[in-house]
Amino acid sequence: MPRYSIGIDLGTTNCAVSYFDLNEGEGRREQTMLAVPQLTAVGTVEARPLLPSFLYLPNEQEFPAGGLGLPWDSQRSGTVVGEFARAHGSKVPMRLVTSAKSWLCHAGVDRASAILPWQAPADVRRVSPLEASAQYLTHLREAWDHQFPDAPLATQDVVLTVPASFDAAARDLTRRAAELAGLPQLTLLEEPQAAFYAWCEAMGAGFRKQVRPGDVVLVVDVGGGTCDFSLIAVTERAGEVELTRVAVGDHILLGGDNMDLTLAHAVHARLAAAGKKLDAWQFNALTFACRQAKERLYENPKLTRAPLVVPGRGSALVGGTLKAELERSELEQLLTDGFFPRTAAADRPQTARRTGLAQIALPYAQDPAVTRHLAAFLTRQARALAEAHEAPLDVRGQSFVHPTVVLFNGGVFRASPLKQRVLEVLND
């Protein structure tokens, strides 16, 4: 009998594990995040609630013996997963695997062949998107088994979330990754549904007041690297509320990371105009600083600007630090209006002209406007539903689907002005 019910989020930029104890009985149980021990520096292991989805493939002589040990494997060497992989890999990008999840659903490549790091030099060992995903899951399983030796993860009730937009091949590869990680038995759950259940759980009994049979729930999920839309119809059968997934959008490679990069490029241009040069590492630091400034400005509407500091890489800190500012007007112009412009229902994402070359690298979205992708999604779904037999929704006479409830998910929507903008666009 499983003792724990466990949810695993295998994300594009971060993984997380959350669980509750089934023995705590019915009613509201305490949900806990697993603190995942991971390398944060050579020889240093720290437990963090998130495991960054980064895999670093070190050179044999790169680190001292025993420096990559983990609590459950002190002699570990070979690969690094998590925070140290992310931090060190930003200085050695050719050995760093990123966005394995996006590669997992990229039909343009052989997802089980060793192709990552993408365009790495010949002497760097490569792994497949499948193997990278398996490594993240293996780390999570080992972290769990280390903390709960009497309740190994493979024997528990495990749910793994996948984007609703994952095709059958990507789902199958996710299952295979779990098998390689020693987790042959688990349930795949679509992320928007997971978000909806989590919201219901958070609302407690109050959710029935917010959602009624007949409602159409739009789940807008904008994470670090991807953007997903889905529509869920709320129906009732024999007194029980049922959720039916009506429509799923494409897996759009556009997320919070792109937003932070846009801010960093704008600030970088200003610094460059003033004769200040940034190397790749400093540009990363600037991107991180922009992200924090963005969060502060969105959180506190009274601030008109937020300071940005980028330390130099050398040992001179005061002499090497560059400073700049992020203005609120700049944030609103680049982010709120750039990524969430006010759009008409008929607007379509802009696409660049085809070059005739087959696209092999990750197919990043060409139009940064989340709201235009959303408008296109709702219009396309209205047309599809109008043509479908026994459609779960009646959309007759509508040019696009009007959701009655919107559920926001993903880190980007910690910024309430962005939620407001999406609602504004939907209500127009």
Partner: protein, 182 residues
């Protein structure tokens, strides 16, 4: 079967305990003290063994904390730099780097609470039998408690410590590696 009392640990589990004791005794002075008491006079009578621990190993957790503050907040760079020639705005910008990073180390590694809950400037009563480590008396210190006074600084106490430790395979004297870009 049946001859062994259930409380006896199997051999492999004992190896695990022995290794953990070794590591904890190295990194946690308090544990080492308790372990020595548990082991009895045999070990206490052999001061030569404890004197053989090199100072960098005895102080490994302190050195590691410094390396964390350097890694996250560039503290050693900041303290080792001659700042006399820079203006306040430049020092201020660097201070933001130090503040943000070192604060992260503090909040993740320690749970800090004031020694006294009242705000600075509040009138407080120091009762008889007060904890003289947690409360320092200043000014006209005379007579017997309870004392009435003004709280000048609420103090700090780490109520929980979860600082990471450094792997014993590594030399704790290396606070930050040199970086060579190829």
């Amino acid at each position: 079967m049946g001859n062994t009392p259930p409380s006896n640990l199997p051999f492999l589990a004992r190896v695990g305990v022995a290794l953990r004791c070794f590591w904890q005794a190295l990194t946690r002075p308090e544990f080492a003290r308790q372990a020595r008491a548990l082991l009895g006079p045999g070990v206490a009578a052999a001061p030569a063994a404890s004197a053989a621990v090199p100072p960098e190993q005895a102080q490994a957790p302190a050195l590691h904390l410094l390396s964390l503050l350097q890694r996250e907040g560039r503290l050693i760079d900041f303290l080792q730099e001659d700042i006399a020639g820079f203006d306040d705005a430049e020092v201020g910008a660097a201070a933001r780097v130090v503040h943000a990073g070192c604060r992260r180390v503090l909040t993740e590694g320690l749970t800090l609470e004031p020694a006294l809950r009242e705000a600075d400037g509040a009138s407080v009563t120091v009762p008889a039998g007060f904890d003289a480590q947690r409360i320092r008396l200043t000014g006209k210190v005379a007579g017997q408690p309870p004392f009435r006074g003004v709280l000048r600084h609420h103090g700090w106490v780490a109520t929980a410590v979860q600082l990471p430790t450094l792997s014993p395979a590594l030399d704790p004297r290396v606070l930050a590696p040199a970086e060579v870009e190829l």
